[in-house]
Structures are given as structure tokens and as C-alpha cells.
Amino acid sequence: MAGAASWSFSENDFKQIQQHLLAFLRDSNARCALLVDRTGQLVATVGDAPQFDSAAFASLTAADFSANDQLAKMIGEHEFASLVHQGQKESMFLADVAKRVILVVLFDQRTTLGLVKLKGKGAVESLTKIFEEMFNRVGAGPGGQAGPGGTPQKGLLEGAEDEIDKLFG
């Protein structure tokens, strides 16, 4: 592999993901859920709009998760599939989805860690299904390149060389 492959998702994928996240928020009484990919890019946010800079938040989440992955290996664990950061009022729960994305849940005293974890398990399972299906669609997954519905995404910018040159003119 030359480098990291790219991945993409369609509006349809996006809607499905949002529906599952919304159902999860309703069931768990959590405030907000974010999906962040392992490179730190924000994929989706649902619930109360975060008051913080979500791009910065996403990059820190990915770094936090990958640092913890390494810590797990050092103590002989394969991974920590989920992490909890508990504060006085605000807490967060992070869980791996299909090894490619991280579900981040923000919650407060309106619910409990137990409920978030319990409902989170179901959410992770359904999200994992969606992402695995996405990745399996003609190589949209790690190592492959595909666009919405599996059409090759190579060529998204095909013939756009001029436009690219102009952008950096």
C-alpha cells in the first residue's frame, strides 16, 4: 500500500448513522454523541450541540484512544474497547466501532454510567454493522477506494487538475 487509503460515505450512510445515534441518546438519556474516525476527523454529531470546538475535540479523542490502545498492549491486553472519563458533573464514555471509528458519548447526572454503558453496547453493535457494510461495499473499507454506493471514488477530482492548480495559484 502506498499510503493510507481514503474512505467515504454517502448521505444515505450518514442518515442511517444519525438515526442509530438518536435512538441511542433517547434510550440512554445522554446529552450528546459524536463519531470520530481514528485519524481524528469528526464524522457525525447528534444531540445537544457541543459548546466546544468539535474539530479540536475530535483530534484529541483519537489521540486519547490511540494512546490508550498502546497502554493496553503494554499491560498485555489486546485493547481497551471502551474508556470512561468521569468528572464532577460532565462525563464521557468512548467506545471502539469496527476498529475504524470511535463513539464518544457526553453525559451528566440525568443518567448513569451503567445505563450509558448498557445502551452503548447495543449502539456499538448496530453501528459496527453499518460501518462493516460500508467498508465491504466494493472496497470502500481500509485499503480500498469507493464512493457512494460503491462507485469507484478515484476520479472524484478527476480532470480537476486545473481547478487544483488555480486554488493554489
Binding site: M1, G3, A4, S8, F9, T39, Q41, L157, F168
Partner: protein
């Protein structure tokens, strides 16, 4: 890896500034942060020690414009250059789309440059990435200092070239930035490729945007 979001019509790409400690990676991002309009950039996050040395990474998201209706958003990261921090340095390379190697031009730092370049090759290959095949450029920084080594010496140590085996790429490619020099060239019957390079004085901002443009353009062209 670049992420294409058809729902929000965005292309997200990750660029990493690599290189020896104190070479000027963080200074590159600080200059970009200071010069780009706040509408087109996000917050800069720096995880640093009390002495301003990068501990984990610096992060700065910038929008570089719209192509084919897609917003092109680049996430810029620096790594900690100090040898000691290799575990965290390696994590930042995950999913990288393009790399800028910020070399410190000072003669005294030659060994540190070479060691860091070797470390970059090693970390990339542990992920299965091939540095010679992804967007990659070298920035020779601190050209303002009196003890800066000549560029040709830096080139000889840090950018000696790699064999180009793909027959389709075995043709002379002139370096548009340096007349008379080639990025791909034939040297005694062997085809050799080099990374494009630039000179910079990051504290003054010289060469900082040229470097960013060069590498982000290379990244977008991999999608075309």
C-alpha cells in the same frame, strides 16, 4: 487517510510535519495560524511541555478552498521531534495523507536530521506505508542562520533519492521550483526519484505557505 463526506460535501485530509526536535515544526503551524483568516481555520491545539517542546502533537485545521463543490479541509499535525517520544510520534502518523519533513539546516543538526529521517522511514513502514509513494516534501528550515549548511549538502544527506522501479514513471521529471534540477532522473542507468524540497525561515514565515501549498496540492492530485 482522506475522508470524503458526501453528506456535508467535504474532503478531509491529514498532513503531518515531521523532523528533528527544535527544527521548527510548531513554528510552521503557528505562522499559518497567525496568518490565515479565522473563518478558514479552527482552533490550534498544542500538547506541549512547560518549555514549549511538543509532547504529543500540535493540531490545526485549515480550509484551503472548494473544488468540485467539495470543501477541502486539511488537518495539520506536528509530531514531537525529540527522540525520546517515538511511541507518541508514531501514533500521529496513523492515516497520514501527506508529509512535510522540516529539517534544521544548522550543520550541528545534520546528524539529528538524518536520524529523524530514518525514523520516519521506519515508522511509516511499520504501518505498511511507502514514503516514496505518498505526497512528501522536505523543508530546509532556518536558512537565516550563519551556520546553515549548503542546500546541496543537505540534499545529499537527506534526499539522496530512491530507485524508481515502475516503468511508467521512468521518465525525466523536471523540478519546477529549481530550474536545471530533476525530481526523477537517470543516473548511470538507474532511475532515481527525489522528494521536492523548499528553503524556509519559519520564524519569519518565509517558505511556510509554499510548503503547505506544495504538499496539499500533491495530496489533492492523488484524488484526481
Amino acid at each position: 487517510m482522506s475522508m470524503i463526506n458526501y453528506a456535508s460535501r467535504e474532503i478531509n485530509c491529514k498532513l503531518v510535519y515531521y523532523g528533528p526536535g527544535l527544527g521548527g515544526k510548531t513554528t510552521n503551524l503557528e505562522h499559518i495560524y497567525g496568518k490565515v483568516s479565522p473563518n478558514t481555520r479552527g482552533k490550534m491545539i498544542s500538547l506541549a511541555t512547560e518549555t514549549e517542546r511538543t509532547l504529543f502533537f500540535d493540531f490545526l485545521p485549515v480550509d484551503l478552498g472548494t473544488i468540485r463543490g467539495f470543501k477541502t479541509r486539511f488537518h495539520l499535525y506536528t509530531v514531537p521531534g525529540q527522540v525520546y517520544y517515538n511511541a507518541s510520534r508514531k501514533l500521529i502518523l496513523k492515516g497520514v495523507d501527506g508529509i512535510v519533513f522540516v529539517a534544521d539546516s544548522q550543520i550541528e543538526r545534520m546528524e539529528a536530521n538524518v536520524e529523524s529521517m530514518q525514523n520516519l522511514y521506519d515508522n511509516m513502514s511499520e504501518y505498511g506505508y511507502d514514503l516514496t509513494r505518498i505526497p512528501f516534501a522536505i523543508q530546509y528550515n532556518k536558512r537565516d542562520l550563519p551556520n546553515a549548511a549548503p542546500v546541496k549538502d543537505l540534499q545529499a544527506s537527506l534526499n539522496p533519492g530512491w530507485p524508481v522501479e515502475d516503468a511508467g514513471q521512468q521518465k525525466v521529471v523536471p523540478d519546477p521550483a529549481h530550474p536545471g534540477e530533476n525530481l526523477v532522473d537517470r543516473v548511470s542507468n538507474e532511475w532515481i526519484g527525489h522528494a521536492p524540497y523548499l528553503e524556509a525561515v519559519a520564524v519569519r514565515g518565509d517558505g511556510v505557505f509554499d510548503t503547505l501549498k506544495l504538499v496539499s496540492k500533491m495530496v489533492l492530485k492523488t484524488l484526481s
